[in-house]
Symmetry: C2
Subunit: 240 residues, 2 copies
DNA sequence: GTCTATAGTCGGATAGAC
DNA sequence: GTCTATCCGACTATAGAC
């Protein structure tokens, strides 16, 4: 904690003082404030774009003044980047288990059927995660928006979230189809598959409207996953 | 032409004068200017969001002054809406043929295989259109952005572009699977399919990067369509 | 129809006290 | 660490001349 030096080179917060004010529990006092601002920002930037969200909104919602925000994050962009980092971190925390298992299976040479099971597992886990919490929805929106209209956080999200995820998916698909990992068709399938999944995440509101759903509950999720599974099953049968 | 009364109720241009200045060819003089502004705006709003694009940029790129822009479109939002209308219109012009044919086939009761052929036709045509011209790319970006983060033009694009397209797709899929048109699973499949297609349109830049492509040419398009066809083939086999 | 000039607003960032 | 007060730039929109 309290490692405020962002991975940016521009306008970093001032105080580099090692000594921090300490509150009751023995943890640095400011960390609670910082955390609060960050969470508010994650929600705000999830719901609207970098431009649409104002620092005033965030500071108000976090019950701090504007300069406080600057104190912790340097400027608006710094805050935005911090959000991206946080999202990467939290995603990882939720997916490492399944991803690691899938990757391990890949390193041993498993057969097509096993790979398919793992792919379904990964996609299912992702769908569940994204459909699960309100926060995860914000993350998904943030990521989708940033990847579509590249902004300050593009590189972080692309290289540490999107590319690894796509890579893993592509490798699994290649294994399923029994082709080399570099096979372009496998990568295309991976893109199409992940893109499908995102229909109900980043494009949630429009999908809900189209389905006449009010929310994505257990039943709805099951139907979506079923559709995705069908796509995965199709992969093994499709030969260029 | 020259029907400037936008489908909006708010800040419509002033001059309601029936008499228009007439230039050499016998057409109203202002229409050329209006068209020029509109095309510049379509490009600009395709590349960046409503907020990110400034009226200054547009007026400058169109070689007119700011008030001219207001003269024709009332305000920034009016211009944005005019863009949305134009996009709907141009899309329609490019897709009516295939869509009408598919719809006609649907009204007669065709069999599953015929419906599948038509679905492939529709998706293929759409993919071709979107991959084809630079302009179509701008349209796709505009639409995708507006549907994801609903703004002033949401209703226009949703009701006149997205919903009809989804509806047609869902009906074709229902026919392929031999289920009722209201079947939710068919609608989900439709959403997943269209979402996949959009991976290479609204998400073009990121897809290109992932595929190590520099552009989507004939060869690349063929691979994408092949992948989409595989998904369509999967639909008929998938039974809930 | 198109322009120049300007009004009015808002948002990000800073100065400096406590 | 957190605040109040303020600056300054950028943007949309209007007034009014030609």
């Amino acid at each position: 904690m309290t490692k405020r030096p962002l991975a940016v080179s521009v306008p970093v917060p001032r105080k580099t003082s090692k000594v921090r004010a300490v509150a009751h529990g023995g943890y640095p006092k400011g960390d609670e404030t910082r955390e609060r601002i960050l969470n508010v920002a994650l929600k705000a930037f999830g719901e609207a774009s970098f431009l649409a969200v104002t620092t005033r909104q965030i500071s108000e919602a976090a019950s701090v003044s504007l300069p406080t925000l600057q104190y912790y994050f340097g400027n608006k962009e710094g805050l935005y980047l911090a959000c991206a980092e946080a999202i990467v971190e939290r995603y990882r925390r939720h997916t490492t288990a399944v991803a690691a298992e899938a990757a391990k299976t890949l390193s041993e040479d498993c057969d097509s059927a096993t790979a398919r099971v793992h792919l379904k597992g990964v996609i299912g886990a992702l769908a569940g995660l994204l459909a699960g919490s309100k926060e995860a929805e914000h993350w998904a929106q943030f990521v989708a928006r940033e990847l579509r209209d590249p902004g300050p956080a593009f590189e972080i999200l692309y290289s540490r979230l999107w590319r690894p995820g796509l890579e893993l998916t592509a490798r699994l698909i290649a294994r399923i189809r029994g082709v080399d990992e570099s096979d372009p068709a496998a990568r295309i399938q991976a893109l199409l598959l992940i893109s499908s999944l995102l229909a109900f995440q980043s494009g949630r509101s429009i999908s809900l409207r189209a389905m006449h759903w009010s929310a994505i509950g257990r039943e709805e999720l099951a139907m979506i996953v079923s559709g995705l599974d069908a796509q995965i099953d199709a992969i093994s049968r499709h030969q260029t």
